[in-house]
């Protein structure tokens, strides 16, 4: 096994990108990543493309070959990785494995989703594919519905409140204001969240991440060669992934994501760090309750304690632990296949010291956490500055 470093990152603005299709989004992020790593299309040996449902959103399948084609990666092998909303994080892990194994030296990992070419109802149906079609979707249980079932039980067991949920959205919008790539650069208040339309009790519209277009890309190389590409390579010190039942109801517990706990435990072991060593983390806040679960399941708070801590501001920018400095899925947007890769891009900027207005002081160790479905897949990566 070789050590792996990220030497180039690229990102598009997230949001409703009416003038850009799949091809334009992928090219925009990909070119930015290549330029950042100071390489050309000819240097790339392998591509992994994370995307969840391009066939449902645009009619286009075979997206990895298309991505390689559009970026001028002539005739290289390219593979699409689909793991619902964890497609991007899963693609990153495959890229990591390809470089760590010694099979490839220069690998590009892209993530993309073009979601606004269909109606929001069709987009929701496509996203529903992450759950169990035969038992959850067939009975009209939506994704907000699944996370609402989690939220209600969490509130019952631990006293988590709707204000605590709302405070996640408020904090992530505060961060998104400082991110030029974010979909919602607008502050919101707890009252605005609480008074927004109820989608699935207790979750309101402003508890939910939006439908978005966007792409992200990273360039991976062996650490020993990283300095040829970039002065501040970021080392991937852990890459872990786990699964759980597809159906929410069948889990041992619905107030935790066991897949997150397992992936996190492996990641901490690989990186030889503990939760207290992490300075900045991007977690999967597809719904506000999901960030509360993440803070607990990643080991930052005891079960049932994260909601109050977030409401008290402990996870705001440059407080006790800076969480979702990009704005998270809620504030930055959630083009599903792009999200897991975007999280890595944000952490690279933070560890390089390039995060501008939202820079976390003294950020040396970062983490990303990407979830698929209602917790059926979880991917955790840990990163460190290589110098």
């Amino acid at each position: 096994m070789r050590d792996v470093a990220i030497v180039g990152v690229g990102l598009t603005k997230f949001g409703e990108r009416w003038s850009s299709g799949l091809k334009e989004l992928m090219a925009e992020a990909g070119i930015m990543a290549l330029e950042d790593a100071k390489i050309t299309s000819n240097d790339v040996e392998m591509l992994y493309g994370g995307t969840m449902a391009p066939g449902r959103f645009t009619g286009q399948e075979h997206v990895a070959a298309l991505m390689a084609d559009q970026l001028g990666f002539k005739n290289i092998p390219a593979v699409r990785i689909e793991n619902a909303c964890a497609s991007g994080g899963s693609a990153l892990r495959q890229g990591y494995i390809a470089v760590a194994s010694g099979i490839h030296d220069v690998v590009v990992v892209g993530g993309v989703e073009k979601m606004t070419d269909v109606t929001s109802s069709e987009a929701s149906t496509a996203l529903g594919g992450a759950g169990d079609q035969e038992w959850e979707l067939f009975q009209g249980i939506t994704f907000p519905g699944l996370y609402a079932l989690i939220a209600n039980r969490h509130m019952h067991d631990y006293g988590t409140t709707e204000e605590m949920l709302a405070s996640v959205a408020v904090k992530n919008h505060d961060n998104a204001v400082k991110n030029q790539f974010a979909q919602f650069r607008k502050k919101i208040t707890i009252d605005e969240v609480l008074n927004s339309k109820i989608v699935s009790d207790p979750l309101k519209l402003l508890d939910c991440s939006p439908i978005s277009d966007g792409a992200a890309a990273v360039v991976l190389v062996p650490l020993e060669k990283a300095r040829k590409f970039n002065d501040t390579p970021i080392k991937i010190v852990a890459s872990a992934q786990a699964t759980d039942t597809l159906r929410l109801a069948e889990r041992d517990s619905i107030t935790e994501l066991k897949a997150t706990k397992i992936a996190a435990a492996k990641a901490y072991e690989q990186a030889k760090v503990q939760p207290k060593d992490i300075n900045v983390v991007e977690v999967h806040d597809c719904f506000t309750i999901a960030e509360i679960l993440a803070m607990e399941d990643l080991g930052f708070y005891q079960k049932g304690k994260a909601g109050k801590a977030i409401l008290d501001g402990e996870t705001a920018l440059n407080s006790k632990l800076s969480v979702n400095t990009s704005g998270g899925l809620k504030g930055c947007g959630h083009p599903v296949g792009a999200t897991g890769v975007k999280q890595a891009v944000e952490i690279v900027w933070q560890l390089r010291g390039d995060a501008k207005d939202r820079q976390v002081n003294g950020a040396n160790v970062g983490m990303t956490h990407n979830v698929g479905g209602s917790g059926s897949t979880a991917v955790v990566h840990i990163y460190k500055r290589a110098d």
């Binding site: 529903g128 009975q139 079932l149 209600n152 109820i198 699935s200 207790p202 039942t245 929410l248 109801a249």
Partner: protein, 132 residues
């Protein structure tokens, strides 16, 4: 999403009658039925099990923004029900004037779930009624 009638028919025993299965090797109960026991893997000995349909609400929500297929049914209550025999099952909670609550006792019922347009299939399914 439009579904073939075969996709409904294939699972009709479970959808109508709450038939799941049990692993005779470790006695784990499942609903819906599993092909392989989660505990035993290849040692699984799966046999059919009829659930009584009594249980209690473990969690619930009211879905107000439904998928297209359920647009005429919304809003509707969904619960995760813990059956007396052990398994947790998702399903509709029938509106009967009692607000769903965690711990509420439920009994299974056979009801219409949704109608696929004016000329399409009528989908029936198990649902739960809160009785206390």
């Amino acid at each position: 999403m439009e579904r073939s009638s075969a996709s409904l028919w294939r699972k009709i025993r479970s959808r109508y009658n709450l038939v799941g299965n049990t692993c005779e090797n470790c006695n784990a109960n499942y609903f819906p039925p599993r092909i392989v026991c989660r505990n035993c893997g290849r040692k699984s000995k799966m046999v059919e099990k009829q659930y009584k349909g009594d249980g209690e609400i473990y969690s619930f929500t009211k879905i107000r923004v439904p998928p297209d297929t359920f647009k005429d049914e919304a809003p509707y209550d969904i619960g995760i029900v813990k059956l007396e025999e052990g398994p947790m099952v998702e399903g509709h909670i029938i509106e009967n004037g009692i607000e769903p609550k965690i711990g509420g006792k439920v009994r299974v019922r056979f009801r219409k779930m949704y109608v696929d347009g004016d000329e399409g299939l009528i989908y029936y399914h198990y649902k739960f009624e809160q009785i206390g």
